[in-house]
Assembly symmetry: D3
Homo-oligomer: 317 residues x 6
């Protein structure tokens, strides 16, 4: 019986080595990458019994995804299909002012037609926590409905629902996102939202603590978490405002930082940690992620504990 | 003014290094790959002034394709668009009995909506030869129409039309292919078809010389070329049967051999070579291709001449 | 409840890329590698619910092993310890007459102190099949005892026991191996032994069918399988002699072929295949393994079925 | 008809991956690299119709150069010869205080014997701009004469001449450079010179604006551009002093920054941009170059525009 | 006749490329690495005639070590044996707060049984300087005795003895180290100790100059060197206190910095440099090391002189 | 005191990985490569005390060469200079009919001006054997004179002289080679010549045994060795004809096979092996070389003995 079930799309991320542009690349490094499976992987690595629900093409690229997730201890509960593609995205990195470039190639992915009747909904019902993000309903109308259905079903089964707003401007417009996502909010127990997205999508101009209060008031979330730069966070829980600054960290591998935060947060909550402890644990996981290639926080509980404790990071030998 | 214009889709080919399976790959080598641009590249490298018509996404992956073609001397005459994807395909290699695995990911490619009015049809009209293959009309109804329109337009302009049947079982059924392709045959001057495809698609049971005679009789091609294993060929031209055995060659990099044959053949024809000489030149180009990574025959005229001459291949130093 | 439980050591295999000698290598490719986990991985990939029992250092290299096995669907039921090393071996490849070089660095591996009381013996008892090899008892006296204990315990629980003799001359002498291994034979239901090992260790001079008859007669195995070159096999089951020739295959990646055979054989038996079908399935799995880098047969049921059916291996596209 | 023609040597740059010293390198990354072709490539990528004149050995390394330039849209108008080498240079990178090490291996390069009668001088005459640098006349007496002849010929044909002083202390002494280069100045319309070179070679002690005024006064340049650290620039044009600070940028890939500036500047001027706009555009191109491996600024107009606009560089997705 | 003889263990260092975790690594870069051979290599590269004494397995991994040392000009005076392993260590790198991870796999290394009677002690007796570190006696009781014997023998032969305390917390406890090491101090002429180790092991709370005075007073060292962050040092020689700040340097490759300092120091002393000059030279060598992959300072005398001189580090070309 | 001294040029060999053409290569693998240092390295690895005389640029590429040779146990007795280049050559590999391509870039190498007065001629005089090849006198007139001087000097000092004709058609014409080389023959004790070169250069039409008799008769060599395909050899020594067939071997890495033969032959002769035994030992070394990347035979005495003994080459483990 899983502690945590997540639902969403996982892509193959294709990134040229080092600073090479996509346009002149002779090879791409490959990583499985998806906001919801990133969360599952981080949480699984930190002790949670985690499963990930999705739909994949029955092909070597599809199996490349499940193999990667199993490696991190996530159980892939997948519908295999011959319809639809394995989504990918190209990621090019470079120092400022060049910055990173993301080219999505996720249209027509197999997951876009996933419906509750074919997914392992029993997993959702028996889990402690069900997590998904605002990316999933952005992918298709079907997925928007399925997301709503799964959240509803989880709630009815007594499964806590957590939701990371994760606005993706390459997938939809703010207005469309707002309409779809706020429809889901009544089924959400724990909301995570970036300060910037709260402004862009929800029209809340900040600062983060005011955004948190506003959202908690309006939607009656159990816990409302607003993340700021580098995943420092402000949270409102039981009417109490909690602040967790970001741990100082490199920025070589920023993609997936937010997911690492959520994964760390949920892992700690699932071990009956307080919200405050979970925020700290999530922030430490996020700090480590920023130093690790790929989308997944390849961490251990010991490594996260060391960051939480602020231990000296000289080489131990 | 180009000698040769080709039209079709070019994908990014993603292949794990060495014998690594796609499922466990940590990186993919990248090559631009498409039957029609492979032909243009081989011909350009062998002296032809070659252009390639297509439609690509206005993105780094799309520019990855045009850069690769320019490198080989092909002029990409491309419609840039924000609609549609950059097609890719995964290629995994392995010795027998594993063999090679091709996973197409070319659905919804930008090229699928290409119409004559947006393409550089003036290039087709002013060229000596227009070449495309049976892959192009398999990609979409629009492309089937566009292929017919371009062949018609070429013929009307006095441009010789060449067509490689290139049946792809992952794109369509034999019956559908037959109907579409035989509709195009009246607009084709030079047909190239693999013995196996002549049987599967056109229902001609062989041997190759009989297939050639039958096709020449039925469709009145100027030149009818039937390729057999490793691109040995039989051709019927002016009622005369020509046979060109394949040159002995390795088989490490078979993908693109047929395109190399056509590229070599056309390059020699464009230099006023006889059909017999062109078949020999094409076969030598094909033999070299089988030893060269990627889809493109990275050859030089001197290298092809050396194969034609049957020169000693000890290391010269 | 697992179908198959295996027990043994898994090393990290360090191999220079291509033909580079260890002595001048600047990098090593890394693969998890162990006869018993190779069997589990092949079987898991072919549909078995497989677990692997062992003891590993609680360190990144130890976790490198479990991650690799999980990726292939094997559940690692591992005792984590701070005593003992992660075993490794160096593998250098080269054409004849250089051949491959194996340098074991597996002394003092954590597994050498594994005892039944700390291992997940309930898995052994609830499994359909328990598998180990002659490598395990060669590693330490403790492991020789533990191997005997686990075989006994499996038998008592009604779990079928399978055993691959796998003589390793770098670990012990033939006489010592014979004494230890023949002591275990009464607890073994299915014996797999290479023709060469039957001669070297058991003193049976062949041919394979006579070796099989002799062993079946002497030790009363349910099934006796003698493998010959490239994993062609002769088997004696229910008094009937079965012969399965090896499938023709490349030889680029021979390490792990025998384990692939056993993995394929067991997967088919666990699906209620006949011994004859299982031998064929195992031989096909072994043939594929010879073309796949690393120790593990990265196969699918569809790929094995294709080899069994003798399908044309032209590229399908 | 090209907008821009450049003339000079292009080498193959051989650089060990990462921070590896040349002395212990097991491989070298390869890039085509030459001040004048770098300028052509940057300008071509930014919309100019650009050609590059040179002389190369008729060999695979020579063709490695032309292929790379074509990839970026530059037309290589090359004299192929069997006399002379393909020049190379070794580039080793490292943090301070180690810094980068350049080892030229460009003696006896084929280009050193290039004379106007064999070069495509019609391209120079029909171009809008002809560009070369102070490296070219440093390579041989013949090239010094050819440089002068081409500048003269360009001027007579009404082609604007631009010249980057680019002093190379490994090629000649300051006094020799000064004599040769100042002889060329009367044929130059636009001079680009680094503040440091203006001091070392021309004896002008700075600051940059005074150097610009002095040079403009003495040699009557249309435009005089003095570059300072990281390619901030001061320019004097029509008696007006323009200052363009450098854009903040990383410094991982500094080689080629100056060429990127000139390429961006010329691309904008060729689109009828003002000198001020061209300086900004060049500085933005230079800033991007500092983040891109190789000698060439692999940029797009959109990327440069984004830097000019000072856009937020968060990952867009 | 060697100037410098060092004695100790050299491992193969296995490090995943870039920031990749060990747990997900598909390859390891390989470097020969050992405190004492690092010192010999740096000194040899800077002009010393250096030999290294040790005991290695007679195997390809063992020869990988000697080949690497010979490459840098060190003569490996090695006892080859069939008993014992080639030690290795895994090194994973990452930005803060992740930091570097060292996993030693050096148990049961061949060197652990090395005794004076089998080692080339004549080299020690005829050398100018004999150097070892506090790592060697930590490896085994035998090595602790051998270290003492070699120091004694060197002293008796008039060879200067130098000793770097190099406390390794993964090998032994502070108390055990203190007892063993202070027993050796009477045989040591020049002590090098990190400020942190002086506190942890010797109980001297600092600052560095007081530690130096205390140690010099208590043990009557000829020269007492206390290193601080980034290998700035304080030294007491002939009663005079010398301070050498660290040169500013990157920190990409910190492992081996201390050894580089000692190698540079000894190379300069062996050329009759003053202690002050040797400290400067050592600090410059250490600064360069921090920018060079692997454990060894791949430097030249010219490069070190350039750092000592504080030369401008712009690219020279 | 060296057993063996060789004299000649060593280049850096630049080869694209796998089958990649030079023209599209993004990286080159680097190996030190030179006929005479290849011989020294093979002999040193097989027990000879070997030195190599040459002249190199005082630069990182020059030091790349000496480091590689030291690694294999060869002492580089080198004149360092600021005049002249580090020679290189490009090597591209491919299956038939493409074959391997060698592009020399060795003009103006530093070694071309090497004269006896600057070389370590004392090494030649005190050695047992002095070896050089017909490549050295082909490189410059100076080197032709120096080669003659060193052979003369060796002979006068009682050092056996061995000479491998090694005709290089890219360096000179047969007639020129014949004149220069036959002038050297009176100073040569042991001649090695390929059957093909004996025909091309010396006009001896074969077969090999007749060539050997003719050469021995005409030039009074102590030993005359004619090599045939894959380094099978015929030798005439003391009037006796000896035949050594080639050992069966792969052909992935043929470059350097002849040098490996000579290195193995000399190593055995220096250990007082008979000519017959030395021929066998050389042929076995050559067979191993054909399987090893790079120019150097990275062999051990044990590996060569195994080939001589015709041992089973199954993986030993
Ligand atoms: Ca990254
Ligand atoms: Ca995220
Ligand atoms: Ca291929
Ligand atoms: Ca084809
Ligand atoms: Ca393998
Ligand atoms: Ca096996
Ligand atoms: Ca760079
Ligand atoms: Ca520049
Ligand atoms: Ca490092
Ligand atoms: Ca150190
Ligand atoms: Ca090779
Ligand atoms: Ca040779
Ligand atoms: Ni990953
Ligand atoms: Ni669609
Ligand atoms: Ni990264
Ligand atoms: Ni990665
Ligand atoms: Ni390519
Ligand atoms: Ni390939
Ligand atoms: Ni490639
Ligand atoms: Ni392999
Ligand atoms: Ni692998
Ligand atoms: Ni480049
Ligand atoms: Ni690059
Ligand atoms: Ni190293
Ligand atoms: Ni032990
Ligand atoms: Ni590094
Ligand atoms: Ni390295
Ligand atoms: Ni010259
Ligand atoms: Ni090779
Ligand atoms: Ni190599």
């Amino acid at each position: 019986m899983p502690d945590l079930v997540t639902f969403g799309e996982t892509m193959l991320r294709l990134s040229p080595p080092g600073d090479t542009p996509i346009e002149t690349a002779d090879s791409f490094d490959v990583h499985a990458a998806g906001a919801e499976s990133n969360v599952a992987a981080a949480a699984a690595r930190l002790g949670a019994d985690a499963a990930w629900l999705s739909k994949l093409p029955d092909s070597p690229p599809g199996r490349r995804v499940t193999g990667a997730l199993r490696r991190h201890g996530v159980e892939p509960a997948v519908v295999w299909t011959d319809d639809g593609r394995q989504g990918t995205y190209y990621l090019e990195s470079g120092d400022q002012p060049r910055g990173a470039t993301v080219v999505y190639d996720r249209d027509h992915a197999a997951v876009r037609t996933a419906t509750p009747d074919e997914l392992a909904t029993d997993r959702v019902e028996s889990a402690s926590v069900f997590h998904t993000t605002g990316i999933t309903p952005a992918l298709s109308d079907t997925l928007a409905r399925t997301t709503g259905d799964l959240l509803t079903l989880a709630r009815e089964a007594g499964t806590t629902t957590t939701f990371d707003l994760n606005y993706r401007s390459k997938l939809w417009e703010p207005a469309e996102a707002r309409e779809t996502l706020t429809d889901l909010f009544p089924h959400v127990d724990v909301l995570v939202v970036a300060e910037r997205d709260a402004e862009t999508v929800l029209g809340l101009s900040g600062p983060a603590d005011e955004q948190a209060r506003h959202l908690a008031g309006e939607y009656d979330f159990q816990t409302t978490i607003v993340t700021t730069g580098s995943e420092g966070v402000v949270a409102l829980h039981d009417g109490e405002l909690l602040e967790q600054p970001a741990f100082t960290a490199g920025d070589s591998h920023p993609v997936g930082t937010g997911d690492a935060f959520v994964g760390g947060y949920l892992a700690k909550r699932l071990q009956d940690g307080t919200v405050a402890d979970a925020l700290t644990y999530g922030a430490a996981t996020a700090a480590l992620k920023r130093t690790i290639p790929g989308d997944v926080a390849v961490v251990t509980p010991a490594a996260v504990d060391r960051v939480v404790a602020g231990d000296d990071t000289d080489i131990s030998r």
